[in-house]
């Protein structure tokens, strides 16, 4: 049955599309506002964004030790 596999595949695609068409969506303005809020809330804790002081960064350039 050469056509059978095509029909089965097609049915699966249609079922998947029906499923996807039925999901709940929010407005982009709402979604964008939430994304922005998340960024703002966490901005201060983002070392690559705001930089961090050398003293507590483990990747700081090595200081040379000298004998006293």
């Amino acid at each position: 049955m050469p056509g059978a596999a095509n029909i089965v595949a097609m049915k699966k695609i249609v079922q998947q599309l029906r499923f996807e068409a039925g999901i709940n969506r929010v407005k982009v303005s709402q979604a964008a506002a939430d994304l922005q809020q998340f960024c703002m809330q966490n901005a201060q804790q983002d070392p690559l964004l705001t930089g961090m002081s050398s003293s507590n960064n483990p990747f700081r350039p090595q200081k040379v030790c000298s004998f006293l």
């Binding site: 969506r25 922005q36 690559l48």
Partner: protein, 424 residues
């Protein structure tokens, strides 16, 4: 709609074998498609059994097949033809576009106009990890924020201490092109895989003298190369993506396939798990230019995005779990919001013509680091859609970029055989 009771189950067959399905699974109109590769030759050929029968002959030893019981096929519904189904699928696609369009009342960058621009970044390379003999294809950070694992085309997997540049472990795989590697959440093991079509888990020993390669254990078996792997919340489960077009969830201890994810129509190149607070989903991207979001428990494809115009090389969730980004050979990176179910930003420039291979977000999600085939890393302002900075240094394609778990550093792996750790 019937379930697929045997989807993804594996049967090893001897010379002649019959698939014996219980009577409950064997209604008269069941279409069984048997596909798999012979252990002796690697030609995969689907064999369909005639309606009503479920037995097949296998002529080779060690034939490992994946029996997929397709949905109970009642035959065509009245009036249904292949043409009418095609028409329906086109109508549904149009409807999907309409639904998504209705909710597009504003663009992300418009909402972000009032936000302060990102201050100039001064991210510099602080460490160069040398030691691989060939292209570094992948890397992953350990949760301890200092160790990382990297894998290379030369078949070697190295575990490094990024602070001291010490190489802590070296694992040799019997294949070249180890495209995927991942650190276990506990930090006690790593997973790696590639052209061997497998993903193996290697427990790491504190004893320097112990040969870790010997303890390597094959967990995942695909019928084509393994392109990506990731542990789930524990060391016990492993998620893999493969060139065979599927993703799969495995139990590490037994090697059993727990769930398989079908839907991509070409090689799957990347996957990423949703941050743990947001539940059991993951996103995958592949050569069919689609990014799919999956439910890990049911195997269902929940959402699908097809905005890219070429292979998707990498997908990564936004830290909140409500969105994800993708990097593609079409020289763009894109940002999708899952609740709005659409693409909300495209990161592109006329001057960027080379494919993007990898993306990762900074801790707050404001910055998107993207590695490209033109040897650079572009840093994008996620909200405004503009480029903030370009990082130079690598002498060949950047294959992977990953921000450390505490957000203090960015590690980039490259075809120039090195990894670089950068920070402000």
């Amino acid at each position: 709609m019937s379930q697929d009771p045997l989807e993804g189950c594996r049967i090893s067959a001897g010379k002649k074998s019959a698939v014996s399905l219980g009577k409950a699974l064997h209604p008269p109109n069941l279409l069984v498609v048997v596909e798999g590769t012979c252990g002796a030759c690697v030609a995969a050929s689907p064999v369909s059994a005639p309606e009503g029968s479920c037995s097949y002959n296998v002529a080779h030893h060690h034939l490992c097949v994946c029996v997929r019981v397709c949905m109970a096929w009642q035959g065509l519904q009245k009036g249904e033809t292949l043409a009418s189904l095609k028409q329906e699928s086109e109508n549904l696609r149009r409807k999907l576009e309409e639904e998504r369009g209705k909710l597009t009342d504003v663009e992300l960058h418009q909402v972000a106009e009032k936000v302060e621009t990102v201050a100039a970044l001064s991210i510099k390379t602080r460490r160069v990890l040398k030691g691989h003999g060939n292209k570094v294809l992948s890397m992953d950070w350990c949760k301890d924020k200092r160790r990382l694992v990297s894998s290379s085309q030369d078949g070697k997997v190295i575990v490094w201490d990024a602070f001291t540049l010490n190489k802590e472990h070296g694992i040799t795989l019997p294949c070249t092109w180890v495209m995927a590697c991942a650190y276990a959440p506990s930090g006690c093991a790593v997973a790696c895989g590639g052209l061997d079509n497998k993903c193996s888990v290697v427990p790491l020993s504190l004893d320097r003298n112990e040969n870790v390669t010997a303890k390597k254990k094959s967990v995942a078996m695909h019928t084509n190369y393994v392109s990506g792997c990731s542990f789930t919340n524990s060391d016990m489960q492993l998620l893999t993506s493969s060139g065979d077009g599927t993703c799969a969830l495995w139990d590490v201890e037994s090697g059993q396939l727990l769930q398989s994810f079908h839907g991509h129509t070409a090689d799957v190149l990347s996957l990423d798990l949703a941050p743990s607070e947001t539940g059991n989903t993951f996103v995958s991207g592949g050569c069919d230019m689609k990014a799919n979001v999956w439910d890990m428990r049911s195997g269902q494809n929940i959402q699908s995005f097809d905005n890219h115009q070429s292979d998707i090389n990498c997908v990564k969730y936004y830290p909140s779990g409500d969105a994800f980004a993708s990097a593609s050979d079409d020289a763009t990176c894109r940002f999708y919001d899952l609740r709005a179910d659409r693409e909300v930003a495209v990161y592109q420039k006329d001057s960027i013509i080379f494919g993007a291979s990898s993306v990762d977000f900074s801790l707050s999600g404001r910055l998107l680091f993207a590695g490209y085939n033109d040897y650079t890393i572009n840093v994008w302002d996620v909200l405004k859609g503009t480029r903030v900075s370009v990082l130079f240094g690598h002498e060949n394609r950047v294959s992977r970029v990953r921000v450390s778990p505490d957000g203090t550093a960015l590690c980039s792996a490259s075809w120039d055989n090195t990894l670089r750790v950068s920070r402000t």
